[in-house]
Symmetry: D2
Subunit: 366 residues, 4 copies
């Protein structure tokens, strides 16, 4: 139960460390018959690959995925899909220093506290590279959702004080700008802010937003496995995320019922809502409108300024972290949020197929 | 998998509807030997009981708990603890109106979409009364945590625009004020605001904060079952919660690394942190400092103003909800947040007992 | 994780002790829309009720079930179904003796070893009364399966040396004979054997057989959740069962491939098998023919002859158990085997609805 | 939920097909600090490797394991251990024939029925090679159990009509004889029988027995997760197993209580049993004596005699299977039974560490 498995029916298990031989994921419960190849997955992995922009670590990694099982004649067989991404650029650096102390904002101390020791090379399992398995599985989930008419899209909503301008939403910008913002003007402002951060040997936080379209009403569960509860876990399980919002999120606490309630109306035979403060979920179940969620991401803890901390002997020391680090986590985490959202939505859709006796009767033809 | 079970080792399964015969919970996996009686649980249930203040529905419910199994000679036996709370005040009202349309902000429409029909009396399973099982189980979890030296406390952090004044934190006020705020002055301001809301036939949102003290470093898991991920699910699964924050929460997105990182230092032999922006969790694992989380709660969707909606025939209509409703959900949800936090923390502590080989060797060699 | 929950989608959680206030079960994941009432369940419970024949304990229990939640307007709502059966006949006997020693063949010693102490009244949770929750849930599963065209039937295959004569199979006899054998002649022979056992202050073992008809090919999973694996767990989890067989069972070890293989053939357009040594399961997945399984049940451990054992002070003693006991467990366990089989089969059918992409596409495009 | 995951705390997920690129397993929940290297695992894999005796398929496979994650400085880190075994000898045979019909006794038909199509090369996921992941994980479990003082051993109990002579039990023979019988004389008789089978183009069934020593009393759970229930699932999930027995197994059905009950006695301060008909488990919980279980394995379904079956067009045909096949499954399955038993026992031991409040208090107060 070390918690490397996620999902109920569409179930993923990730493994691998930053500087180990490889990272990967096993997807169990993927329906048979989905056409899938390595390129379908590679497209998603490329979006989180390092070394592509001035705000991403210069570490060079091919991050090339290989399908080891579960696909035959180009289609999923219904048995576990094993995906592997070899590590190629673990430079044999001197880690003796980093092994000797606890970096602030990192999991060094807590891993030692839990496990008695840790893989200190590149952060081991607590590295952002852990998300490779999530993204690879998310690519499969997205392809499946697409067949069902459901789309998931995430983008950078803000970096530090710079918010995206959604009135000029440009989907193409998300994958072409270094910040993954959906408009070029905000991207440039954010880049200027990040340049400034780097000059100050500092780092920036930010916000990722994710939208799900095409999800029918009725998906999710009423109590502990509310759709928003499972989404919150999915998103909060991404390293560096410190808050999750659904729909209006934190704003509801200062709102009033007459404003926050979304009125239903009949739109040419389809029941819709005039507003979407709820972010598409009522009572834990989708209401047919767009799902909206936001993740608040903390600044990269690895900064080049001097910091106070404690070493393994318990001595108070001052350190200066060296190496290669992104000044902001957000852009490379955008596709991770998209992946985790897709996996959660797909799993909920699959669970929903047994919600009514009539579904079973129709399926079993009696 | 209709999602009425929560937890891995300390596992709870709740059941019951607002106007059914009873509500309850089965706790499986509670260690044997814990002294517990009905009063231990009743104290917690009383904190969420209706009809106690001017801002709580006048529905009169004894909400009296009975232990049906799992306790022998005053101690838990290690087998499932079944707790039941009979419903006594389901007035046989005329629900034909409420059955005919979809209340905005409620789960009426989504339940119909999922299940094909719904128990429309008092909201059925989507009622706030669903939390009775959570609170009863939380009382047991809290008692167990106390034996381990861990305490959990929740309180109202804000109601609408009125925030609690933490510089005058008064623990006793939490259970004695109608708002469950931890200071009397803010409570009075909030009550004035709520009175105004009620006069406007409107309702208010708010914020609940929860603190965990005494939790050692090392509790939680590195990937999907991060302590903060599981806490987020636990809290977001409470009806009406639309955002969850850990530590500095949403503020991290506009912060910088040099501020957000918490410096470690040696405090007379104990490794501590100079600040706690992280809210006590690093890399999904507790760091030994206080756990801090916040839930943002939407305004009560049942308001007495006229609202637009659709009826079951798909006709656009205007409705006015009648009945008995709290103008704010927050105060009665405080103990629910406390309960869900306690259950999650306890479960993580229990899982942690197998984290190191040395623990197993010590256990099985004595 | 004290293991009181069974199933993945159709998930049951049982609770209760022999001499506690009540026993019960919570069924989570039952599809909405199934017509069900207390009588549907009572019929099954009556089949395991004590005090009905000369080979059943004279303890009088109404074993009357009450539905507490999850049913509205006579149909399941999709939310947890809570079923309760009060204990009415826990006579306030003197249990000080039984509390002081470990009965051979019972769980007294192992419960103490695990939990540190035990509820010694009537066996507590290790009593056969624990199966009440299973049977109540099984009644719901059977009703659901019937709607899908699937039937489950169990009967006594043997008691001690007396085997049922299947060439004179009479379904009606199963519920009308005291032994639950499917033919009256064998029932009488078995009754004579049991009378002899009782005179010798001894008890008898036996075999229960269970058949599933109408299950389509393709149900089950290829690896750990093989249909036969899950059935084995389900059946072996019934107290006193010491062996489980599928199809030819233990006979396969002395068979040869040319005999044991079942030949496929085309029976007027339907693929069938000429024989059924496999008991309807190949590679963990149903093959469309009848599912056949057998449970071997040990003799009732409570016998009236003197027995050697140890008391709680570790002293070697000789005991004579008093009280009320069945001379054979088999007849009252028949309906338990039927219930556990039904629950397992139903759960597998529900899981199967996501096996192919085409199923999802069809479901989400209409 | 395609069922490729097994275990609760010590949790394994296997993947891979007979003729795919590789097979493997991810172990999640292994405690940190266990010294382990590839050789520790290889020793177990070598015991199930093909091509080593005259009764094993001549397919040559190195079956060389590689550790991809979860081990650092020679010790487990507490994070997922990913183990991979590349396939090297998938000869590019012509599978068009085997793709066109359903082999009797195999999973060809049921896989098609479930998934709509199948990987027909070498049986795909239904091949015996699927067990590689189980054995690799079992090696880790065995090493861990050894540190706790618990040993697991399996051997061939019978092949066809030839039973092992346990009065001449020779542990060394298990790994040195081709049949894995624990005495050389029976091994030779069984080899003669198998030679005869092969000459008749037929195959043989058999029995595997497994013993667990050193397991303390108190391990297991009272209801659905009884130790014997979980063992039954573990063993029945191994392909070709058709019956599972615990202790006296099927013999209990013709036994009587006065014989079948095991008397407790005080053996110099330790509570023991004079006999062990129960096979070490009472009420689902270990009683401190040896755990004994048996698996009945069907004859290899691939035989070289002509067989009747149906092709994919539904035509009745006669086939003759070619290729490379073991005349008996038992010897190579011995280590699989050992592995699955070890994994189940270890998981139960880990779960047991939270059975009593005192355990938690002791753990969290030091």
């Amino acid at each position: 139960m070390a918690g490397s498995t996620f999902g109920n029916i569409f179930k993923i298990t990730t493994w691998g460390e930053s500087h180990g031989k490889a990272l990967g994921v096993v997807i169990d419960g993927c329906p048979a018959g989905l056409p899938i190849n390595e390129n379908d997955i590679q497209i998603y992995l490329n979006r989180r690959k390092p070394g592509q922009t001035s705000i991403s670590t210069p570490r060079k990694e091919a991050d090339q995925v290989e399908i080891l099982s579960g696909v035959f004649d180009g289609k999923t067989t219904g048995t576990p899909i094993s995906l592997i991404v070899p590590n190629t650029s673990q430079k044999s650096a001197d880690y003796s220093e980093i092994a000797s102390y606890y970096r602030p904002g990192h999991a060094d101390y807590t891993f030692d506290a839990k496990f008695g020791f840790r893989d200190y090379t590149g952060g081991g399992r607590s590295s952002g590279r852990e998300t490779i398995g999530r993204v690879a599985a998310g690519a499969v989930a997205c392809k499946l959702l697409k067949e069902m008419g459901i789309s998931v899209i995430a983008y950078t909503r803000a970096i530090g004080p710079v918010s995206a301008d959604l009135t000029h939403f440009d989907k193409e910008a998300i994958t072409s700008t270094p910040t993954c913002m959906p408009d070029h003007a905000s991207d440039q402002k954010a880049m200027a802010y990040l340049k400034d951060c780097m000059q100050k040997k500092d780092s920036s936080g930010g916000i990722i937003e994710c939208l799900v379209d095409g999800l029918p009403a009725g998906i999710g569960d009423p109590v502990f496995d509310k759709l928003d509860a499972n989404l919150s876990k999915a998103i909060m399980s991404i390293g560096a995320v410190k808050a999750v919002e659904i729909g209006d999120g934190t704003q509801v606490s200062t709102s009033v019922g007459s404003v926050n309630n979304d009125a239903f109306f009949n739109n040419h035979g389809i029941i819709e809502k005039k507003t979407n403060h709820a972010g598409g979920i009522l009572g834990g179940i989708s209401d047919g409108s767009r799902i909206i969620l936001r993740a608040h991401v903390k600044p990269t803890p690895s900064i080049f300024s001097p910091q106070e901390t404690v070493n393994k002997n318990g001595e108070n020391i001052e350190i200066e972290i060296k190496g290669r680090h992104d000044p902001v986590i957000v852009p490379r985490a955008v596709v991770v949020v998209e992946a985790m959202t897709a996996i959660t939505i797909l799993d909920a859709c699959m669970l929903n197929m047994t919600a009514q006796l009539d579904y079973l009767k129709e399926f079993y033809h009696h």
